[in-house]
Subunit: 342 residues, 2 copies
DNA sequence: TTGTAGGCGTTATCAT
DNA sequence: ATGATAACGCCTACAA
């Protein structure tokens, strides 16, 4: 079917070996011979079979990433942004990207094993870590190159290369900002404990209260699934249970959107009656109505830098820094409302 | 390094062939033998080398797609949405996705040749067609399976499998909507002619005027690059050149965002002074300020259906319909403003 | 029921 | 300067 070295060899009367070397630019090939071979290869439209090369070279120049499937349209921009960053950097380094999408759980682990164990990639990017993440355990156990967007929960070692935003500091800034605006009753929407960053963000919330000399109210904290629906439900719970709340902090922008919807559904005005804050600063945040106050995490750049890190780890030239904590930035927008008179 | 059939064979004293067949579930293997082999394979954590399989089977179970790199964060949600759809469907059919990002042009074509000619994928998804698209010409010339999101410009044959929204009808609906709202001076922002859908959308604009018995003003039409910046500049040109405009139709949402910014920059109110419309209905459209009136194109679903189509084409069981035109839907939002008194 | 041989397309090693 | 041989890991005739 397609043009192979053998075909070219036959065509111009040299051996496959010589053809291979001529094309690879070795200098032990007669210049005339090379010209002839190059010409034939070009005429035939030769393209090296990458799969064969991969098998022979035991290298794929491919990076793998597995994302959750996103059935609804705008479900999660986090991964989209991350992939954009990874994609861009990968191209710079002449790597391709292999993507597969699975729901977290058994299927996801099987896919890791299939792709990594099946030698389809030189390295993996693991995103959105869970507490005690089996994917990481697996990759460590077989010593396969990988980098992580995120890190372990605070009580577990993060003994792997990663880049993560300092969630604790981020939430702390956000809550402090609300406190400065005069809020005293601030709700918090947390994802399930199994998400690795939950504990960090929870800590940020507590620290902010502590710093301000305020008491921490456990009943101001609710849990919901990551995503708009989870945020909506958790916010409803909070608003119904503790109507004195004048601000709600959600652990990502998607949940914050849900919370805004809940505030609206309860007949209260976002910003004016109840301030809302998020985390991530996905593109939709600035376009939201009202625009969402949030903690900016440079997801795209994290994707880029992770990819660079991974490529270097694969090449066995790991950068000096392989555990990077990024200082997030507070982005104040209209969902904060105005500072309140004390 | 990793566990191979050979390794298992050695471990349990059978030949590689027998091991291979035991694992593949052939029935000409002694049941006891199979059990033994399965056990050893499991203990060793055997994972078949997918690359070797690909080489031997001349099949990759991988679909390829090449997107433009997106340096800025929220640059283009069209591809993100498409990929989400493709990704979801691909997983259903047990296909993986190979993604690479290149700017349109030589580099992109080289990447097509490298990946397709290099046997890395069983089929390609081509997105955002150009007029007389070299990628399509190439894929057709080597008879490699592919499907297209979009189709050829009106004057060229679309003799390949595709799914496209009926752009002409879409823009026509949008312009008619503005006419119904009482607008008579409606600007149009077009992407360059080289984009295949340009002519369709332009036609939709002209048809709407014709239907309403209004005259078409060429000076109400401007061209800009796809993307927010292009929309901004084109809208500035229009607003400065023909200040009588009370509405602007952009050929996609991103350009519409740029146009909104331009309207704002010229000190006019979006909706009230100048209505703005887009095309695509990317997630940001409904969160925009004000929410953007646009023509909804079900990008995610197109990705899903294209993938299904491609998988069937690869399996040599092409569906009955391989050229699908989707009727888009008009989504009226606040950027339309209110109907004007005649 | 099991094993041998050959090939997928490439590159590396070692002769000539 | 060129070529024969083997190997990457798998699968599939064909033989025994």
């Amino acid at each position: 079917m397609s043009v192979t070295l053998k075909r070219i060899a036959k065509e111009c009367g040299y051996s496959v070996t010589t053809v291979s070397r001529a094309l690879a630019g070795y200098d032990d090939v007669n210049e005339t011979t090379r010209q002839r071979i190059l010409e034939v290869a070009h005429n035939l439209g030769y393209q090296p079979n990458l799969v064969a090369r991969q098998l022979q070279g035991q290298r794929t120049f491919t990076i793998g990433i597995i994302t959750p499937p996103q059935i609804h349209h705008h479900e999660d921009d986090f991964f989209s942004l991350l992939i954009k960053g990874v994609n861009y950097a990968a191209a710079q380094y002449h790597y391709d990207l292999l993507i597969s999408s699975r729901f977290p759980g058994t299927e996801e682990m099987d896919t890791y094993r299939r792709i990594v164990g099946g030698n389809r990639v030189d390295g993996m990017i693991v995103a959105r870590t869970y507490q005690d993440d089996p994917r990481i355990t697996y990759l460590q156990s077989i010593e396969h190159p990988f980098v992580v967007a995120g890190r372990s929960a605070p009580d577990l070692p993060s003994d792997f290369p990663y880049i993560d935003a300092d969630s604790r500091v981020g939430v702390q800034m956000l809550v402090r900002h609300f406190i400065h605006y005069g809020h005293r009753h601030i709700g918090l929407i947390l994802p399930p404990e199994s998400v690795a960053f939950t504990a960090y963000r929870h800590a940020g919330y507590r620290y902010a209260f502590q710093d301000a000399g305020l008491t921490y109210h456990p009943e101001y904290v609710a849990t919901g699934d990551l995503g708009e629906a989870g945020g909506y439900e958790a916010a409803c719970t909070l608003l119904d249970r503790t109507p004195e709340l004048t601000a709600i902090v959600a652990c990502n922008d998607l949940m914050a959107f849900g919370a805004m919807a809940a505030v609206h559904a309860r007949g209260r005005r976002i910003g004016e009656d109840v301030a809302v804050g998020g985390f991530d600063d996905i593109p939709a945040a600035q376009h939201a109505m009202p625009p969402l106050t949030t903690v900016r995490q440079p997801i795209y750049e994290i994707g880029e830098r992770l990819t660079e890190m991974l490529v270097r780890i694969i090449a066995d030239e790991p950068p000096a820094e392989t555990q990077i904590l990024i200082e997030p930035a507070l982005i104040v927008r209209a969902s904060s409302g105005q500072p309140r008179p004390q």
